[in-house]
Assembly symmetry: C2
Homo-oligomer: 200 residues x 2
Amino acid sequence: MQRTRLKGDRIVLDTSLFVNPDVRDDFGRTPTEAINTFLGLAERLPHIEFYMPSSIFKELMHFIDRDKIPARLLTVLHQKSPSKHELTCPAFLLYELIEEMRGRINKGLRFAEKAVRSVGKQDEREVIQNLRKNYREALREGIIDSKEDVDLILLAKELDALLVTADRGAINWAEKMGIRWLLPERFRDYLLDMIERTGG
Amino acid sequence: MQRTRLKGDRIVLDTSLFVNPDVRDDFGRTPTEAINTFLGLAERLPHIEFYMPSSIFKELMHFIDRDKIPARLLTVLHQKSPSKHELTCPAFLLYELIEEMRGRINKGLRFAEKAVRSVGKQDEREVIQNLRKNYREALREGIIDSKEDVDLILLAKELDALLVTADRGAINWAEKMGIRWLLPERFRDYLLDMIERTGG
């Protein structure tokens, strides 16, 4: 009899788990330590496949000490890009993305105009700092805004995997596309419970 | 024997054909006149089906005198939205859109910063006018940026139709998606040649 694939059999990981200090603490004080802790837990769950998009793995490599990463990271954490020339996305998501961008673009212009009008009342450097902050928030926060974000979403979809990410944009799209997701700060407990239940 | 559908059997129209003075002149001095000219030609081509997305038709109605439009417009120019919950788009287009938007968003911020720095050297009103112009060009020109644009592209794809539009964003996407397209200024000649060849 063919084994039915359990929910959570496949997990796609973002870098935040290892590099974001707010969520990494569960796993270790440094990215390298966090990876080693993760590997220790992952090896007790041989029925779960862990994936990371190649683009995200490349980002991770900026933060970690390659020499201290055990070779088994390569066999435990699979690097894989989504099959971007075979996958499709529902057309209505295109509408949502375009409409959302349109609203954000208008908001960005309003911040720019406000900045121009506040020169004279405020120091120019301060005006530009505020402008950058407000503009980035308006145009990029909570939306998928990089090919790495698209990689995460599409890989999780392709593999019918659980997506572990703290990125609001990726979470929003996971919701739109019916992808299961989990915040990194819950991930250690998730793994520990899996280990307990499977006697790993 | 089933009739093979000829290329050009179905045509999707944008409003520019009727409302943009630069291209409309071939058809008439006013939008209403342009529509009547179009109807005269279309009726000599009974084997061609003409479509307009409902959203675009709604836009068109802002420009024309409803009372002067003959009822036959409704039977000749079909209003139809794309089947947006059934259609899909290739995932690699999502990457292209996100990457393109990312570049444009950065460009928009550079224009905003430049505007802030030019206050004092230039009149504030002038600075804001320039900012708006540059910003809109950077973020919206040559890209699909409204649900009406998406409607055009998806309807042409769904119907395997020729898309008649002057919108650079829609044309760019037509190119990406293998949709035939034609500039409105060539459309009168296109119809006349079809009439000649089919003896209409």
